[in-house]
Symmetry: C2
Subunit: 216 residues, 2 copies
DNA sequence: GGTGTAAATGGACGACTGTCCATTTACAGT
DNA sequence: ACTGTAAATGGACAGTCGTCCATTTACACC
Protein backbone atom coordinates (compact mmCIF):
# COMPACT_ATOMS: atom_id res chain seq x y z
CA UNK A 1 0.00 0.00 0.00
CA UNK A 2 1.16 3.51 -0.76
CA UNK A 3 -0.35 4.98 2.42
CA UNK A 4 1.19 3.55 5.54
CA UNK A 5 -0.28 4.13 8.94
CA UNK A 6 2.92 6.13 9.42
CA UNK A 7 2.47 8.27 6.32
CA UNK A 8 -1.12 9.01 7.23
CA UNK A 9 -0.16 10.10 10.71
CA UNK A 10 2.68 12.17 9.33
CA UNK A 11 0.47 13.97 6.87
CA UNK A 12 -2.25 14.52 9.47
CA UNK A 13 0.23 16.13 11.85
CA UNK A 14 1.63 18.28 9.05
CA UNK A 15 -1.84 19.58 8.28
CA UNK A 16 -2.63 20.05 11.96
CA UNK A 17 0.35 22.39 12.22
CA UNK A 18 -0.72 24.36 9.16
CA UNK A 19 -4.30 24.68 10.39
CA UNK A 20 -3.11 25.71 13.86
CA UNK A 21 -0.85 28.32 12.29
CA UNK A 22 -3.72 29.72 10.21
CA UNK A 23 -6.03 29.77 13.25
CA UNK A 24 -3.36 31.65 15.11
CA UNK A 25 -2.89 34.22 12.34
CA UNK A 26 -6.65 34.72 12.05
CA UNK A 27 -7.11 35.19 15.79
CA UNK A 28 -3.93 36.88 16.96
CA UNK A 29 -2.38 38.34 13.82
CA UNK A 30 1.09 37.77 12.42
CA UNK A 31 2.84 39.65 15.21
CA UNK A 32 1.45 37.41 17.96
CA UNK A 33 1.73 34.11 16.15
CA UNK A 34 4.50 32.28 17.99
CA UNK A 35 5.77 28.72 17.84
CA UNK A 36 4.44 28.14 21.36
CA UNK A 37 0.96 29.29 20.33
CA UNK A 38 0.89 27.11 17.24
CA UNK A 39 2.12 24.08 19.17
CA UNK A 40 -0.39 24.69 21.94
CA UNK A 41 -3.29 24.80 19.46
CA UNK A 42 -2.15 21.78 17.50
CA UNK A 43 -1.66 19.69 20.64
CA UNK A 44 1.63 18.39 19.22
CA UNK A 45 5.12 18.69 20.56
CA UNK A 46 7.56 21.50 20.16
CA UNK A 47 9.97 19.78 17.83
CA UNK A 48 7.35 19.03 15.17
CA UNK A 49 7.68 22.37 13.39
CA UNK A 50 11.39 21.88 12.87
CA UNK A 51 10.84 18.24 11.90
CA UNK A 52 8.17 18.87 9.28
CA UNK A 53 9.03 22.33 8.00
CA UNK A 54 12.57 23.14 9.12
CA UNK A 55 11.52 26.18 11.07
CA UNK A 56 8.66 28.58 11.63
CA UNK A 57 9.24 30.60 8.45
CA UNK A 58 8.76 27.57 6.21
CA UNK A 59 5.64 26.59 8.13
CA UNK A 60 4.19 30.01 7.47
CA UNK A 61 4.99 29.64 3.79
CA UNK A 62 3.18 26.31 3.71
CA UNK A 63 0.29 27.98 5.52
CA UNK A 64 -0.08 30.75 2.94
CA UNK A 65 0.08 28.14 0.18
CA UNK A 66 -2.63 26.09 1.85
CA UNK A 67 -4.75 29.16 2.47
CA UNK A 68 -4.50 29.99 -1.21
CA UNK A 69 -5.52 26.46 -2.14
CA UNK A 70 -8.58 26.71 0.09
CA UNK A 71 -9.62 29.89 -1.70
CA UNK A 72 -9.27 28.33 -5.14
CA UNK A 73 -11.10 25.16 -4.13
CA UNK A 74 -14.06 27.04 -2.70
CA UNK A 75 -14.22 29.37 -5.69
CA UNK A 76 -14.00 26.50 -8.19
CA UNK A 77 -16.68 24.53 -6.36
CA UNK A 78 -19.06 27.47 -6.47
CA UNK A 79 -18.32 28.29 -10.10
CA UNK A 80 -18.77 24.68 -11.15
CA UNK A 81 -22.17 24.45 -9.56
CA UNK A 82 -23.08 27.73 -11.26
CA UNK A 83 -22.39 26.08 -14.64
CA UNK A 84 -19.66 26.91 -17.12
CA UNK A 85 -21.78 27.03 -20.29
CA UNK A 86 -23.56 30.17 -19.16
CA UNK A 87 -23.52 33.56 -20.89
CA UNK A 88 -20.59 35.96 -20.29
CA UNK A 89 -22.66 38.14 -17.97
CA UNK A 90 -23.87 35.10 -16.02
CA UNK A 91 -20.27 33.93 -15.61
CA UNK A 92 -19.19 37.33 -14.32
CA UNK A 93 -22.14 37.37 -11.96
CA UNK A 94 -21.24 33.91 -10.68
CA UNK A 95 -17.64 34.95 -10.04
CA UNK A 96 -18.64 38.08 -8.16
CA UNK A 97 -21.24 36.22 -6.10
CA UNK A 98 -18.76 33.43 -5.34
CA UNK A 99 -16.00 35.83 -4.31
CA UNK A 100 -18.40 37.52 -1.90
CA UNK A 101 -20.08 34.33 -0.65
CA UNK A 102 -19.79 33.12 2.92
CA UNK A 103 -17.80 30.10 1.78
CA UNK A 104 -15.02 32.22 0.26
CA UNK A 105 -15.27 35.46 2.21
CA UNK A 106 -15.54 34.85 5.95
CA UNK A 107 -13.96 36.17 9.12
CA UNK A 108 -11.21 33.60 9.13
CA UNK A 109 -10.26 33.84 5.46
CA UNK A 110 -10.28 37.61 5.29
CA UNK A 111 -8.20 38.05 8.44
CA UNK A 112 -5.63 35.54 7.24
CA UNK A 113 -5.50 37.14 3.82
CA UNK A 114 -4.98 40.68 5.13
CA UNK A 115 -2.54 39.57 7.81
CA UNK A 116 -0.33 37.91 5.22
CA UNK A 117 -0.63 40.74 2.75
CA UNK A 118 0.26 43.30 5.39
CA UNK A 119 3.67 41.63 5.43
CA UNK A 120 3.84 40.93 1.70
CA UNK A 121 6.84 43.14 1.09
CA UNK A 122 8.91 41.16 3.57
CA UNK A 123 8.19 37.73 2.15
CA UNK A 124 8.65 36.95 -1.52
CA UNK A 125 6.39 33.91 -1.23
CA UNK A 126 3.44 35.88 0.04
CA UNK A 127 3.69 38.30 -2.86
CA UNK A 128 3.95 35.38 -5.26
CA UNK A 129 0.76 33.75 -4.00
CA UNK A 130 -1.03 37.08 -3.83
CA UNK A 131 -0.13 37.76 -7.46
CA UNK A 132 -1.06 34.29 -8.63
CA UNK A 133 -4.45 34.52 -7.00
CA UNK A 134 -5.08 37.96 -8.45
CA UNK A 135 -3.97 36.94 -11.96
CA UNK A 136 -6.16 33.90 -11.95
CA UNK A 137 -9.23 35.86 -10.92
CA UNK A 138 -8.40 38.51 -13.49
CA UNK A 139 -8.21 36.03 -16.33
CA UNK A 140 -11.42 34.40 -15.19
CA UNK A 141 -13.28 37.69 -15.41
CA UNK A 142 -11.49 39.26 -18.37
CA UNK A 143 -12.62 36.70 -20.94
CA UNK A 144 -16.36 37.20 -20.48
CA UNK A 145 -15.91 40.97 -20.45
CA UNK A 146 -13.94 40.75 -23.69
CA UNK A 147 -16.75 38.68 -25.22
CA UNK A 148 -19.30 41.28 -24.14
CA UNK A 149 -17.40 44.27 -25.50
CA UNK A 150 -16.65 42.48 -28.75
CA UNK A 151 -20.30 41.63 -29.12
CA UNK A 152 -21.41 45.24 -28.79
CA UNK A 153 -18.71 46.35 -31.22
CA UNK A 154 -16.69 48.57 -28.93
CA UNK A 155 -13.87 50.57 -30.54
CA UNK A 156 -11.16 48.89 -28.47
CA UNK A 157 -12.81 45.86 -26.85
CA UNK A 158 -9.57 44.56 -25.34
CA UNK A 159 -8.75 47.91 -23.78
CA UNK A 160 -12.22 48.42 -22.39
CA UNK A 161 -12.36 44.87 -21.08
CA UNK A 162 -9.00 45.37 -19.39
CA UNK A 163 -10.14 48.56 -17.67
CA UNK A 164 -13.49 47.14 -16.62
CA UNK A 165 -11.80 43.97 -15.33
CA UNK A 166 -9.34 46.06 -13.36
CA UNK A 167 -12.14 48.16 -11.90
CA UNK A 168 -14.32 45.16 -11.07
CA UNK A 169 -11.46 43.47 -9.22
CA UNK A 170 -10.78 46.70 -7.36
CA UNK A 171 -14.46 46.88 -6.40
CA UNK A 172 -14.39 43.35 -5.01
CA UNK A 173 -11.17 44.10 -3.19
CA UNK A 174 -12.84 47.07 -1.55
CA UNK A 175 -15.76 44.88 -0.51
CA UNK A 176 -13.35 42.45 1.15
CA UNK A 177 -11.89 45.35 3.08
CA UNK A 178 -15.38 46.36 4.19
CA UNK A 179 -15.91 42.84 5.45
CA UNK A 180 -12.55 42.78 7.25
CA UNK A 181 -13.39 45.93 9.19
CA UNK A 182 -17.10 45.28 9.78
CA UNK A 183 -17.88 41.58 9.50
CA UNK A 184 -21.04 41.96 11.59
CA UNK A 185 -22.71 44.74 9.65
CA UNK A 186 -21.48 43.61 6.23
CA UNK A 187 -24.31 42.97 3.77
CA UNK A 188 -23.36 40.49 1.04
CA UNK A 189 -26.42 41.24 -1.05
CA UNK A 190 -25.78 44.96 -0.90
CA UNK A 191 -22.17 44.41 -1.89
CA UNK A 192 -23.23 42.33 -4.91
CA UNK A 193 -25.93 44.83 -5.81
CA UNK A 194 -23.45 47.69 -5.83
CA UNK A 195 -20.99 45.80 -8.03
CA UNK A 196 -23.78 44.90 -10.44
CA UNK A 197 -25.10 48.45 -10.44
CA UNK A 198 -21.69 49.64 -11.59
CA UNK A 199 -21.49 46.90 -14.22
CA UNK A 200 -25.04 47.56 -15.37
CA UNK A 201 -24.11 51.18 -15.98
CA UNK A 202 -21.09 50.13 -18.03
CA UNK A 203 -22.98 47.64 -20.16
CA UNK A 204 -26.75 48.10 -19.74
CA UNK A 205 -27.55 45.61 -22.52
CA UNK A 206 -25.97 42.82 -20.53
CA UNK A 207 -26.50 43.66 -16.87
CA UNK A 208 -29.95 45.11 -17.17
CA UNK A 209 -30.59 46.29 -13.67
CA UNK A 210 -33.43 48.78 -13.51
CA UNK A 211 -32.24 52.16 -12.33
CA UNK A 212 -28.54 51.40 -12.65
CA UNK A 213 -28.03 54.53 -14.66
CA UNK A 214 -29.81 57.44 -13.08
CA UNK A 215 -28.44 60.07 -15.33
CA UNK A 216 -28.21 60.57 -19.10
CA UNK B 1 7.28 81.89 27.15
CA UNK B 2 5.07 78.87 26.72
CA UNK B 3 7.73 76.85 24.87
CA UNK B 4 10.77 76.16 26.98
CA UNK B 5 13.93 74.77 25.49
CA UNK B 6 12.97 71.73 27.54
CA UNK B 7 9.46 71.46 26.16
CA UNK B 8 10.73 71.81 22.62
CA UNK B 9 13.28 69.07 23.13
CA UNK B 10 10.68 66.88 24.78
CA UNK B 11 8.24 67.29 21.93
CA UNK B 12 10.94 66.76 19.33
CA UNK B 13 11.97 63.49 20.95
CA UNK B 14 8.37 62.38 21.21
CA UNK B 15 7.90 62.92 17.51
CA UNK B 16 11.22 61.27 16.71
CA UNK B 17 9.97 58.13 18.41
CA UNK B 18 6.69 58.20 16.50
CA UNK B 19 8.45 58.75 13.18
CA UNK B 20 10.95 55.98 13.92
CA UNK B 21 8.09 53.64 14.80
CA UNK B 22 6.30 54.43 11.53
CA UNK B 23 9.52 53.98 9.54
CA UNK B 24 9.93 50.64 11.22
CA UNK B 25 6.38 49.50 10.44
CA UNK B 26 6.74 50.62 6.82
CA UNK B 27 10.04 48.83 6.34
CA UNK B 28 9.82 45.77 8.54
CA UNK B 29 6.11 45.32 9.20
CA UNK B 30 4.33 45.06 12.53
CA UNK B 31 5.82 41.68 13.40
CA UNK B 32 9.42 42.89 13.20
CA UNK B 33 8.92 46.28 14.80
CA UNK B 34 10.69 45.99 18.14
CA UNK B 35 11.59 48.51 20.81
CA UNK B 36 15.25 48.01 19.98
CA UNK B 37 14.65 48.79 16.30
CA UNK B 38 12.68 51.92 17.07
CA UNK B 39 15.27 53.13 19.53
CA UNK B 40 18.08 52.39 17.09
CA UNK B 41 16.43 54.45 14.35
CA UNK B 42 15.51 57.35 16.60
CA UNK B 43 19.03 57.57 18.04
CA UNK B 44 17.54 58.00 21.50
CA UNK B 45 17.92 55.89 24.60
CA UNK B 46 16.01 52.80 25.58
CA UNK B 47 14.03 54.32 28.42
CA UNK B 48 12.45 57.04 26.29
CA UNK B 49 9.54 54.92 25.11
CA UNK B 50 8.47 54.16 28.65
CA UNK B 51 9.06 57.76 29.68
CA UNK B 52 7.01 59.37 26.89
CA UNK B 53 4.39 56.72 26.15
CA UNK B 54 4.36 54.26 29.05
CA UNK B 55 5.22 51.31 26.85
CA UNK B 56 5.43 50.17 23.27
CA UNK B 57 1.68 49.62 22.85
CA UNK B 58 0.87 53.25 23.61
CA UNK B 59 3.62 54.41 21.28
CA UNK B 60 2.06 52.42 18.47
CA UNK B 61 -1.30 53.99 19.23
CA UNK B 62 0.23 57.43 19.00
CA UNK B 63 1.86 56.38 15.74
CA UNK B 64 -1.41 55.31 14.12
CA UNK B 65 -3.00 58.56 15.27
CA UNK B 66 -0.15 60.55 13.76
CA UNK B 67 -0.28 58.55 10.55
CA UNK B 68 -3.97 59.31 10.29
CA UNK B 69 -3.29 63.01 10.83
CA UNK B 70 -0.73 63.00 8.03
CA UNK B 71 -3.30 61.49 5.66
CA UNK B 72 -5.93 64.11 6.50
CA UNK B 73 -3.46 66.97 6.22
CA UNK B 74 -2.23 65.90 2.81
CA UNK B 75 -5.78 65.31 1.57
CA UNK B 76 -7.02 68.65 2.89
CA UNK B 77 -4.08 70.51 1.36
CA UNK B 78 -4.76 68.99 -2.05
CA UNK B 79 -8.51 69.57 -1.87
CA UNK B 80 -8.02 73.16 -0.79
CA UNK B 81 -5.77 73.94 -3.72
CA UNK B 82 -8.33 72.28 -6.01
CA UNK B 83 -10.91 74.80 -4.82
CA UNK B 84 -14.06 74.15 -2.81
CA UNK B 85 -16.51 76.17 -4.90
CA UNK B 86 -16.29 73.72 -7.79
CA UNK B 87 -19.11 71.64 -9.24
CA UNK B 88 -20.07 68.35 -7.58
CA UNK B 89 -18.36 66.30 -10.27
CA UNK B 90 -15.21 68.47 -10.01
CA UNK B 91 -15.17 67.93 -6.25
CA UNK B 92 -15.47 64.17 -6.66
CA UNK B 93 -12.74 64.24 -9.25
CA UNK B 94 -10.49 66.22 -6.93
CA UNK B 95 -11.06 63.76 -4.08
CA UNK B 96 -10.29 60.75 -6.24
CA UNK B 97 -7.19 62.38 -7.71
CA UNK B 98 -5.99 63.45 -4.27
CA UNK B 99 -6.54 60.02 -2.74
CA UNK B 100 -4.47 58.50 -5.53
CA UNK B 101 -1.81 61.23 -5.67
CA UNK B 102 1.81 60.61 -4.75
CA UNK B 103 1.48 62.86 -1.73
CA UNK B 104 -1.26 60.73 -0.16
CA UNK B 105 -0.63 57.32 -1.67
CA UNK B 106 3.02 56.34 -1.51
CA UNK B 107 5.08 53.33 -0.51
CA UNK B 108 5.45 54.44 3.06
CA UNK B 109 1.86 55.45 3.68
CA UNK B 110 0.31 52.40 2.05
CA UNK B 111 2.57 49.95 3.88
CA UNK B 112 1.88 51.59 7.21
CA UNK B 113 -1.84 51.65 6.54
CA UNK B 114 -2.08 47.99 5.57
CA UNK B 115 0.26 46.86 8.34
CA UNK B 116 -1.94 48.52 10.95
CA UNK B 117 -5.17 47.33 9.40
CA UNK B 118 -3.90 43.77 9.21
CA UNK B 119 -3.97 43.87 13.00
CA UNK B 120 -7.10 45.97 13.34
CA UNK B 121 -9.12 43.29 15.08
CA UNK B 122 -6.55 43.10 17.89
CA UNK B 123 -6.43 46.80 18.65
CA UNK B 124 -9.56 48.82 19.26
CA UNK B 125 -7.72 52.07 18.53
CA UNK B 126 -6.67 50.99 15.05
CA UNK B 127 -10.24 50.12 14.14
CA UNK B 128 -11.39 53.46 15.52
CA UNK B 129 -8.97 55.45 13.37
CA UNK B 130 -9.68 53.29 10.35
CA UNK B 131 -13.41 53.92 10.73
CA UNK B 132 -13.00 57.63 11.32
CA UNK B 133 -10.89 57.99 8.20
CA UNK B 134 -13.33 56.00 6.12
CA UNK B 135 -16.37 57.90 7.42
CA UNK B 136 -14.78 61.21 6.71
CA UNK B 137 -13.93 60.29 3.15
CA UNK B 138 -17.41 58.85 2.68
CA UNK B 139 -19.11 62.07 3.78
CA UNK B 140 -16.80 64.10 1.60
CA UNK B 141 -17.83 62.15 -1.47
CA UNK B 142 -21.46 61.44 -0.62
CA UNK B 143 -22.60 65.07 -0.67
CA UNK B 144 -21.59 65.84 -4.26
CA UNK B 145 -23.06 62.52 -5.44
CA UNK B 146 -26.31 63.34 -3.69
CA UNK B 147 -26.35 66.73 -5.41
CA UNK B 148 -25.79 65.05 -8.78
CA UNK B 149 -28.52 62.46 -8.39
CA UNK B 150 -30.97 65.04 -7.07
CA UNK B 151 -30.21 67.25 -10.04
CA UNK B 152 -31.01 64.52 -12.55
CA UNK B 153 -34.19 63.61 -10.68
CA UNK B 154 -33.34 60.04 -9.70
CA UNK B 155 -36.12 58.06 -8.06
CA UNK B 156 -34.21 57.60 -4.81
CA UNK B 157 -31.30 60.03 -4.96
CA UNK B 158 -30.12 59.28 -1.41
CA UNK B 159 -30.12 55.53 -2.01
CA UNK B 160 -28.31 55.81 -5.33
CA UNK B 161 -25.80 58.27 -3.90
CA UNK B 162 -25.18 55.90 -1.00
CA UNK B 163 -24.53 52.94 -3.31
CA UNK B 164 -22.36 54.91 -5.69
CA UNK B 165 -20.38 56.38 -2.78
CA UNK B 166 -19.89 52.90 -1.36
CA UNK B 167 -18.74 51.59 -4.73
CA UNK B 168 -16.43 54.51 -5.40
CA UNK B 169 -14.75 54.09 -2.03
CA UNK B 170 -14.39 50.37 -2.70
CA UNK B 171 -12.82 51.18 -6.08
CA UNK B 172 -10.28 53.49 -4.48
CA UNK B 173 -9.58 50.93 -1.79
CA UNK B 174 -8.84 48.39 -4.52
CA UNK B 175 -6.48 50.83 -6.20
CA UNK B 176 -4.60 51.26 -2.93
CA UNK B 177 -4.21 47.51 -2.76
CA UNK B 178 -2.84 47.50 -6.30
CA UNK B 179 -0.29 50.07 -5.24
CA UNK B 180 0.65 48.13 -2.11
CA UNK B 181 1.42 45.03 -4.12
CA UNK B 182 2.98 46.67 -7.19
CA UNK B 183 4.24 50.15 -6.34
CA UNK B 184 6.65 50.11 -9.30
CA UNK B 185 4.23 49.24 -12.06
CA UNK B 186 1.28 51.17 -10.59
CA UNK B 187 -0.11 53.77 -12.97
CA UNK B 188 -1.87 56.61 -11.17
CA UNK B 189 -3.40 58.01 -14.33
CA UNK B 190 -4.75 54.63 -15.34
CA UNK B 191 -6.22 54.16 -11.86
CA UNK B 192 -7.96 57.53 -12.06
CA UNK B 193 -9.12 56.84 -15.60
CA UNK B 194 -10.73 53.57 -14.56
CA UNK B 195 -12.53 55.15 -11.61
CA UNK B 196 -13.81 57.95 -13.84
CA UNK B 197 -14.82 55.49 -16.54
CA UNK B 198 -17.02 53.74 -14.01
CA UNK B 199 -18.44 57.04 -12.75
CA UNK B 200 -18.99 58.27 -16.31
CA UNK B 201 -21.06 55.19 -17.02
CA UNK B 202 -23.17 55.82 -13.91
CA UNK B 203 -23.77 59.48 -14.67
CA UNK B 204 -22.77 60.30 -18.28
CA UNK B 205 -24.16 63.82 -18.07
CA UNK B 206 -21.68 64.72 -15.37
CA UNK B 207 -18.56 62.70 -16.08
CA UNK B 208 -18.61 62.87 -19.84
CA UNK B 209 -15.74 60.64 -20.75
CA UNK B 210 -15.87 59.56 -24.37
CA UNK B 211 -16.30 55.82 -24.66
CA UNK B 212 -17.10 55.22 -21.03
CA UNK B 213 -20.19 53.30 -21.95
CA UNK B 214 -19.47 50.88 -24.76
CA UNK B 215 -22.77 49.14 -24.71
CA UNK B 216 -26.40 50.21 -24.76
C1' DG C 1 26.52 80.78 40.09
C1' DG C 2 23.78 77.75 42.94
C1' DT C 3 19.91 74.82 43.35
C1' DG C 4 15.80 72.22 42.40
C1' DT C 5 13.43 69.63 39.11
C1' DA C 6 12.38 67.38 34.95
C1' DA C 7 14.47 64.92 30.97
C1' DA C 8 17.30 61.51 29.44
C1' DT C 9 20.30 57.58 29.89
C1' DG C 10 21.49 52.71 29.54
C1' DG C 11 21.81 48.52 31.80
C1' DA C 12 19.41 44.88 34.69
C1' DC C 13 15.54 41.98 34.72
C1' DG C 14 12.40 38.06 33.91
C1' DA C 15 9.66 36.40 30.26
C1' DC C 16 9.46 34.63 26.03
C1' DT C 17 11.26 33.75 21.29
C1' DG C 18 12.69 30.05 17.67
C1' DT C 19 16.04 26.34 17.03
C1' DC C 20 17.78 21.98 17.68
C1' DC C 21 18.93 17.46 19.50
C1' DA C 22 19.26 13.48 22.71
C1' DT C 23 15.81 10.47 23.95
C1' DT C 24 11.64 7.85 23.60
C1' DT C 25 7.91 5.80 21.03
C1' DA C 26 5.69 3.14 17.50
C1' DC C 27 5.21 1.23 13.20
C1' DA C 28 7.04 -1.84 9.03
C1' DG C 29 9.45 -5.60 7.31
C1' DT C 30 11.50 -10.00 8.24
C1' DA D 1 8.52 -11.92 18.26
C1' DC D 2 12.46 -9.38 16.87
C1' DT D 3 14.84 -5.64 14.74
C1' DG D 4 15.67 -1.48 12.18
C1' DT D 5 14.10 2.87 11.08
C1' DA D 6 11.33 6.83 10.96
C1' DA D 7 8.22 9.78 13.77
C1' DA D 8 7.49 12.18 17.77
C1' DT D 9 8.75 14.12 22.18
C1' DG D 10 10.00 17.85 25.30
C1' DG D 11 13.54 20.24 27.42
C1' DA D 12 18.08 22.85 26.84
C1' DC D 13 19.90 26.70 24.61
C1' DA D 14 21.31 31.34 23.20
C1' DG D 15 19.17 35.24 21.78
C1' DT D 16 15.73 38.89 21.94
C1' DC D 17 11.64 40.81 23.71
C1' DG D 18 9.50 44.89 26.49
C1' DT D 19 9.66 46.96 31.09
C1' DC D 20 11.49 49.63 34.54
C1' DC D 21 14.55 52.15 37.59
C1' DA D 22 18.85 53.96 39.71
C1' DT D 23 21.79 57.23 37.90
C1' DT D 24 23.36 61.08 35.22
C1' DT D 25 22.55 65.20 32.57
C1' DA D 26 20.85 69.73 31.57
C1' DC D 27 17.74 73.25 31.78
C1' DA D 28 14.83 76.95 34.48
C1' DC D 29 14.39 79.71 38.13
C1' DC D 30 16.09 82.29 42.11
Amino acid sequence: MTQNKRDISRERNRMALIEAALDCVAELGMANTSVSEIIGRSGLSRGMIHLHFNGKAKLMEAAIAHSSDLYYEALDRLLEQAGSDASPQARIEAIVRSDLSAEVLNTRSVRIWYAFRGEAHNHEIIRLYSDTRHDRLRKLIYQPFLAIFREVGADDPAGVARDVTHGTLALMEGMWTDFLLHPDSFDRDAACRIVFRFLAALCPQHFDLPGAREDG
